[in-house]
Symmetry: C2
Subunit: 293 residues, 2 copies
């Protein structure tokens, strides 16, 4: 039996001073880990675990995903999310959705539907509606007062608060999930790295699962998540592979960011080139940890 393991992140970026907020971040990461861990301990697939963990983080307005998303230049919320299953690299992703309460659940629905891999905009929202997923009024239910104030000031506070999870299950299956509100002040219609396989999200049960956060345009030029996969395939260690993706490939394009990754042996790596990346991890052989800087 594989070593089961899960890691989560709440985004890479600047360290925000002030203990109260950081205590809340630690607590939210722990809740997300708990959600994923209980799925893994019940013998459920890694895909269930990463969706459970990201669902918890999406609901937290501390992070830039779902409720709590940053606003576009137009003052709207537009969210991207993806899940990928390592056994067959099946991908479900949504881009530029506005009225969906939990984009990661819609991404999962796209994956389970097994037809297209990526859907965007109103068509994706219509699929959510037709399948009973919760739709919300963006203004009332997704936009927090904090984000509206940031938008009025033109500040990109916590612009790197993307959330994500990676997990290894009992059967050796890997999965990754990522969800984001994008970049503060971005053009409406922007699609970042999050929903793109090989950029912000990747899973292959023969190598590893990866969820990235940071400068989206640099991450997608670097093919950051796929660079981890390629190095693992070549026999490099997960630590080497993950660090090369962040400090060599991503850095080459002037991008800052980080990633969380798990390999088929249950090793974890969480490198980042920013001041901070809120993150948490749990393995069957170890205890639960959370960290910010």
């Amino acid at each position: 039996m594989s070593r089961v393991a899960i890691a989560v992140h709440g985004g890479a970026g600047r360290r925000r001073p002030g203990g109260a907020c950081e205590r809340e971040i630690h607590a939210a990461l722990l809740r997300a880990l708990e959600g994923g861990r209980s799925a893994l301990e019940a013998g459920r697939p890694a895909l269930d675990a990463v969706v459970a963990a990201v669902t918890v983080l999406e609901e937290e307005e501390l992070f830039n995903a779902a409720r709590g998303s940053v606003l576009t230049e137009a003052g709207t919320v537009e969210m991207d999310a993806a899940v990928m299953r390592g056994e067959d690299r099946a991908l479900g992703a949504v881009a530029a959705v506005r009225s969906v309460r939990q984009p990661i659940k819609l991404a999962r629905l796209v994956l389970d539907r097994g037809r297209e891999a990526i859907l965007c905009g109103e068509s994706a929202e219509a699929l959510a509606d037709a399948n009973g997923l919760e739709l919300v009024a963006e203004e009332e239910d997704l936009i927090t007062e904090h984000r509206r104030q940031g938008w009025r000031r033109g500040s990109g506070s916590a612009s790197h608060g993307t959330v994500g999870a990676v997990a290894l299950d009992r059967s050796g299956g890997l999965a990754a999930a990522t969800s984001t509100g994008g970049r503060a002040g971005q053009s409406a219609g922007r699609i970042g790295d999050t929903p793109l396989p090989g950029a912000g999200t990747w899973a292959d049960s023969g190598t590893g699962a990866v969820s990235c956060t940071g400068d989206g345009e640099a991450i997608l030029r670097a093919a950051c998540a796929h660079e981890v996969h390629v190095r693992l395939r070549e026999g490099r260690s997960l630590a080497e592979a993950a660090e090369a993706a962040v400090f060599e490939e991503l850095a080459r394009f002037g991008g800052d960011g980080g990633l969380i990754a798990v390999d088929a042996q249950g090793n974890l790596a969480m490198p980042f080139s920013t001041e901070a990346m809120s993150r948490g991890w749990w393995t069957a052989k170890g205890s639960t940890h959370t960290a910010i800087a």
Copy 2:
């Protein structure tokens, strides 16, 4: 000075019987090559050459891109396009645009703007409008009678008629461009491999430029274009790298398709696993060729 070179494709898929249509395809490929070649011979960058070539192919209703695009399940046209510049891997891409006459020109505009890499839907169309690109009434100007008949019959005729180009310029710069009307009968809002860096489109002047065509969902799971890049980086030949991407990586996911690729030495490769892939190529040291099967 590098060997300048350009290759174009008009999509991988079944061979359609009947000489008349094939003569038109050869002629269109030649016109596209001519457009790209004149840019290269004038000393202009590879990016200009691939956009010029794809612009010619988009205008041809023989191919599934711009005018002549297949229709979605809803009977609408939705187009994806991308251009990538090898020197800095700058990407410009658009997804699910409906009213833009030449999506590849909009993708180029996104690249030149240098802000976001990928824009989708109405926001992308608004950018086109604000910058003087031609907008059209989808019904009248993009939907051909042939495609409407195919939609009424529910047939996916020429569903793999994506177009693309790759080129090497005098300065050693590489670029790739791809444009598509997607898959016949696809869900509205689908985004395929075409606008995704590392999936359907890729360019890195240190390795190669790639444009893919075929089963989009399989191509993006295979990270097909990035797999060519990785093998070139490892020192494999372009022929080996391109064939491995199509016959190993893409085939693993049950996908059929093909790609055109050029490397930094001006070598060309055009493997495909379908019955046919319409394609053409020209190098400064050789003559012009077109082929279908």
